[in-house]
Symmetry: C2
Subunit: 487 residues, 2 copies
């Protein structure tokens, strides 16, 4: 005993000695009443100073593991208790239907596995290389002296007030009438979406969305037991006739839309279409969840206002925003803006789920934003991602035989292949050549879209964009020649 | 126009000018095609440098709000779109049954309101005054250069790996056999608890817990539609006869326990009782959620191992831990340890709810913990809270006529009054005298406990502990004399 401690330099030695002895006692290797070596003896065995051992023993005493009897020595005072009959549960059989479904729908578990060195077009996360660490550090050092202790204690379920005010003003500058509206800060878009569904839907109800749409949204709809009606996308957004038909024939509970840089198609719905679609939703008195996904990543053309800002005094649009999609995904901060009375219910749901979003992250983000760093960062990365976007578009046009390429901004483009080509077969063959992308079928609500794929370019170097898209093109051309069509 | 901008010093002036103009355009106050003042003119109107205006205009151009035509001037290029027929939803009528219940059970909304200057015994959060900000700052400055950019991008649903390893070792030192176990990092205890219930329970099933128990747990049980069977607490934990009876007569899905510093009673279940109770649960093959609440706040006596560490090779205990209860609540970091196969399902649930817990907070916490700061902090605050605890106990003994005082550590004590005294009446009268506490009935599963109350002392100054408890005592004495019993 004691000879097998490996003291690491990264953690105080006295703590490592304490933990070792604690572990021995807990496991019953050192028994109640047993005498420990003297501090002098142990310091010799471990090649540490005697003070280090004294400190370790004092800690163990504080924690109730040993007793130090003056003049007599140090004794173990804890008795390990062990329940004799080990109970072994077969967990597979105990799992709820929701968890079973979550596991089944989890593409991180069941998708293809990326291997080091591959060219991966699967991610639409920002490239961390461009993160603005210096100003985040400055924001931290600026905020901590102001109210460091406060932001480390419990905060409010709705959010950190200065950030809430900032975000409301931010939305106001996009034309939102904040009168009667309120905001809830969430752990990113995903939590915001989950909470809106929890607030408004009961199992078995119907919802409409674009087809294709964000695959996480499809997953969460399913986990809420909702019946999803996908409405076909035209090149300017939802097909209005199909939408009207769906709404007139079904008792629909709410709609979900990604009006700008739609995931996966990258389509931006034009202003006039926004007014038209809002009129249709208004006619059916329908709540609309607007996904503000990457709205800031506009590369050309004039600004397009979010639906919630085109909705005048209407209160049926619920906007979910997130800086974490482009700024700092690791911080997990998003927000929901909607009618005050709805947000009040969502506040209670949020409190019951996780009390509130990290007050520390919210304060840090507020400080960073308020100092004007987001605008500077966006200016920088817009240039970089625009170049990548243009490169991806031109490479695709050159190399991939396809029916359609869409994407007007953002961090990805969407490709529709010959209707007989199955992108999963393309993926299988590209994988062997070290290239992966996202097969488009996961974005469809009705098992279609087998001939589509999404290319996320944000984290791929320019030379790999060229190389990777070329390989995808070669695979597709070969399949077309061989006549190997869908499975 | 332009004369009503109030430029704040806290945010770059060019951004404030940009936002003002953006707002004017979005609102239609500046119309498409309209000419803006020249940069020279606007700089004079606003008393800012011309460069500031140029920067603002360049931003507006980047965002697609204006067009700068050389030699001709600057023109608005955005047309505000407004859906004419405002849709007004009566949200109250659309709210799901879950959200309605969450609102109804939200004690933050429906409890008594604290007013400034009052003595409040309602909180059991740590006093932020003692937070160790200097070392957190150091941890930040140590971690950021190592992998700042990585921890600001997306992380893994299960958690930040170095923190996961740290926590597993931490639990090992408490005697846990980590073989076959895995860990999931959550947004504090509350999310961990919610996820375990989601993974294991379907609506309408039965669960057992201590009566009284943590009120948030009761709330979440109700929100999951579970039928809660509360088992009476003896002075050493659950009454085993009542527990056995409950388990034999009902199809119980799982049990929830707070074995150390039980909330609200403060009871610590002795080691022998832990073995006994595990044997009962084992007999029924029952999953047990162990709430590791404030386990570190032991003031005297020998260490007591958590249930999961007494459970040998058994796999039925699911331990939920949290440093956020005592260290930094604002960071929202907790964890769940349990059988690997269970954690795998919970990982997918976690991913579907909010992707993962802030990687940034996890990395920061890891660095702080690994540098040995938690042990130093606990040593310091244990001394402070122990004094407050002893003061609260002695004041209560002196001033409050009661049947029982319980609490062997932690940040609160629990008082049982004469069975005819309603603590809500006591609270009402204390409120008038500027003192508030938590009425005990909210911790009971069966509408009993009307004659109990919880005193949280962690954020109350010593002189106010003395003063506040004296006032509570006076109110109770008066009620006893007047014979004003329960309503």
């Amino acid at each position: 005993m004691f000879t097998d401690i490996n003291l690491s330099k990264e953690r105080p030695a006295y703590l490592q000695i304490k933990e070792y002895i604690k572990h021995m006692i807990s496991k019953g290797m050192l028994q109640e009443g047993q005498k420990l070596p003297s501090t002098r003896e142990l310091s010799v065995i471990l090649h540490v100073s005697r003070n280090t051992v004294i400190e370790a023993y004092n800690c163990l005493k504080d924690e109730g593991f040993i007793d130090i009897v003056n003049g007599k020595g140090t004794f173990v005072m804890f008795k390990a208790v062990n329940c004799m009959e080990a109970c072994n549960i077969k967990w597979q059989k105990r799992i709820s239907s929701e968890a079973r479904l979550a596991d089944q729908l989890d593409i991180m578990k069941h998708g293809i596995t990326y291997k080091k060195g591959m060219i991966s077009f699967t991610s639409i996360a920002p490239d961390e290389k461009y993160f603005d660490l210096d100003n985040l550090k400055r924001a931290f050092l600026d905020r901590i002296p102001l109210e460091g202790k406060k932001i480390l204690n419990y905060g409010y379920a709705k959010g950190y007030r200065p950030l809430m005010r900032y975000l409301l003003k931010y939305m106001e500058s996009k034309g939102l009438d904040t009168d009667g509206k309120d905001i809830l800060v969430t752990n990113g878009f995903t939590e915001g979406f989950d909470l809106v569904l929890s607030a408004l839907c009961d199992k078995g109800q119907k919802v409409v969305c674009e087809n294709p749409t964000h695959n996480t949204a499809i997953k969460i709809f399913k986990l809420h037991g909702l019946d999803t009606i996908g409405v076909r996308l035209d090149s300017d957004g939802m097909n209005l006739d199909e939408l009207s038909k769906a709404l007139s024939e079904n008792d629909v509970r709410l709609a979900y839309l990604i009006p700008s840089y739609h995931n996966p198609t990258g389509i931006v719905m034009p202003p006039e279409k926004r007014a038209e679609i809002l009129t249709v939703f208004g006619k059916y008195n329908l709540p609309v969840i607007e996904d503000g996904f990457n709205e800031e990543l506009r590369y050309s053309g004039s600004h397009v206002a979010p639906l919630i800002a085109c909705n005048g005094k209407g209160n049926n649009v619920i906007y979910i925003g997130s800086f974490s999609k482009i700024l700092f995904p690791g911080l997990r901060v998003g927000w929901v803006i909607g009618d005050k009375s709805l947000i009040s219910y969502m506040e209670s749901l949020k409190r019951s789920r996780n009390i509130h979003t990290s007050a520390f992250d919210q304060a840090l983000l507020y400080q960073y934003l308020n100092e004007g760093n987001f605008e500077r960062y966006i200016k920088k990365v817009r240039k970089i991602y625009k170049e990548k976007y243009q490169l991806a578009i031109s490479c695709t046009k050159e190399s991939i035989p396809c029916k359609n390429i869409s994407g007007e901004g953002g961090l990805h483009i969407f490709i529709e292949l010959d209707r007989n080509i199955d992108s999963r077969i393309v993926l299988e063959q590209c994988y062997k050549k070290g290239v992966v992308f996202t097969p488009g079928d996961i974005f469809y609500t009705d098992n279609t879209g087998k001939n589509t794929l999404r290319i996320g370019f944000s984290r791929v170097e320019n030379e790999d964009i060229i190389k990777g898209i070329k390989i995808i093109g070669e695979v597709i051309r070969k399949l077309l020649v061989q006549g190997v069509y869908s499975q």
